[in-house]
Symmetry: C2
Subunit: 313 residues, 2 copies
């Protein structure tokens, strides 16, 4: 049995776990519905049981550690979800210690988007680099920064709030109080909002607009062109600031790449001298929904080999 770890991804719909070996091979995976009604203690218990079932299936021997990715701002040192807008009752809940207590084994906690960035570095589009930024396009826009192989957290775990970068100072109003936030111009939600402005009806979705674009609808194409411009402005700024070799995009709107990428690259090329002078890559992430699982599983492997992650139970 080769060394492996268990990665857990707590999503809005599913709680997933996978045993992944040091070479990135998935040995076993489990997915159960994520049930939030009974509160955070019950979620922690479900997590521990999912981890236990994977551990029993694959075998205790060789288990290097367990990593968990959850939404929200994470206080890494305390192992606490400091702020989770989408997880009622989780604010300040000591989820790491709770799962550790039930499981009798140490856990590494991480924000889910940060875990996804780490997963892409380990086994995805970033497998050749140690520095990358992942932008996840969904209801909002989040993401993660991996620098020298490690997640950058910021001093309160709030680094990587790409969705609230200002791209148009007088742009669309955002719930955060700002105008022109990236996620008001480039998220799946923003795409749908632009679609409504293009008179595609109040129930139109970003997928629906993509289908219209595929059929050749010019207004639908314009929506993605505008979305690509906003993305390009933000990514150009990131390239000028970080000079990383790789920037990745993931999330629901990714299939519309051919419609938003041309204007995105036009803006990046115009607005980033660093991009023009270097071999910077801006690409699709490749692991899809599994990125977070891979990243969570990678968390225990981050530590120095000299300080192995003892599994005590």
């Amino acid at each position: 049995m080769s060394a492996y770890s268990i990665g857990v991804d707590l999503g809005g719909t599913n709680l997933r776990a996978a045993a992944i070996d040091v070479a990135g091979q998935i040995l076993h995976r489990v997915s159960v519905p994520a049930v939030y009604d009974a509160g955070p203690k019950a979620v922690a218990s479900d997590m521990a049981h999912v981890i236990q079932s994977v551990r029993e299936r694959v075998g205790r021997h060789g288990l290097q550690g367990v990593g968990i990715g959850v939404p929200g701002f994470i206080d890494i040192n305390a192992g606490v979800v400091a702020e989770a807008a989408n997880l009622p009752g989780f604010d300040g809940f000591p989820i790491r210690d709770e799962v550790q207590h039930i499981l009798g084994a140490p856990i590494v906690l991480e924000n889910d988007a940060n875990a996804a960035a780490l997963g892409e570095m380990w086994m995805g589009a970033g497998a050749q680099v140690k520095d990358l930024i992942l932008l996840t396009l969904g209801t909002g826009i989040g993401g993660g920064i991996v620098s020298n192989g490690r997640v950058m957290h910021g001093f309160l775990g709030m680094a990587g709030e790409f969705g609230h970068m200002t791209v148009f100072p007088d742009g669309n109003p955002c719930g955060c109080g700002n105008f022109g936030c990236l996620e008001k111009h480039a998220s799946a939600t923003a795409i749908a909002a632009m679609g409504r402005m293009m008179h595609f009806g109040r129930d139109v979705t970003s997928e629906g607009i993509w289908e219209l674009a595929l059929e050749g609808n010019e207004r639908a194409k314009l929506v993605f062109e505008a979305m690509g411009r906003a993305l390009g402005i933000a990514i150009a700024n990131l390239i000028n600031v970080f000079n990383f070799p790789l920037y990745l995009l993931s999330g629901g709107p990714l299939p519309a790449w051919d419609f938003f990428a041309p204007s995105m690259f036009q803006e990046i090329n115009r607005r980033s001298l660093v991009y023009r002078r270097s071999g910077t890559r801006v690409e699709k992430a490749v692991l899809g929904a599994d990125a977070g699982l891979y990243g969570a599983a990678y968390l225990p492997f981050q530590f120095e080999p000299s300080t192995p992650f003892a599994v005590t139970a």
Copy 2:
């Protein structure tokens, strides 16, 4: 004799060097005119001689290493100035090896703005933190990123190109090919340009506009208000992305702080939820022109104590 290092700062006008001990005490300092006419080899020779004179004055015993800050993009591993717009003939010149050869002692090379950021972390406004961003306002806008006590270079040494962040997508044209670059709205050069638009005459300087503002001139105050807005947009983006505890400003326009800071903080507060939720500090740098000297001297101290920086000659 306590342990010390020698920091060198190659500026447009002066070549300066200082012996600084591990506690940040300046033991001895030298400044000579920077002479570029005779080419990079002559500059390297001048550097070596300045370092030698400091070393002889303070004593070889206790010298931990030598750090040099120079303008331009630095290839850290090669010790080469990869691109130096303001230093003709320096492109690709192996300045580190050249000085090492003359001196017979190892050198650490760094970009001057990165060195200044490091200096502020070590002995300046950032002495309590390990993560900070320094923005230097001059002809353009540059700066440095210090993360976990180390300079972030990016994969080609081009990280920290803050001056070319887009703050107004349809703003002032920049020589880089972009529109609305931060340095076209907030550098000393931009302040003077705005002053010309305010009919202060073609020879007006940022200092002159500051003096007019001090006298109560409303148009001069408007210039700094506009400059503060551009700075605020860029800094809000940096705060949302990095969640660092500290952002510092330095450079010629700093004395006008009271005129540009109110609009700057208004924009930061409006545009950064991370700022509003955390105790982020945005402050004046305190070391002035000595920041680069301190940072250069700190470079050898960055290395692990287990790998001491042997001075062989």
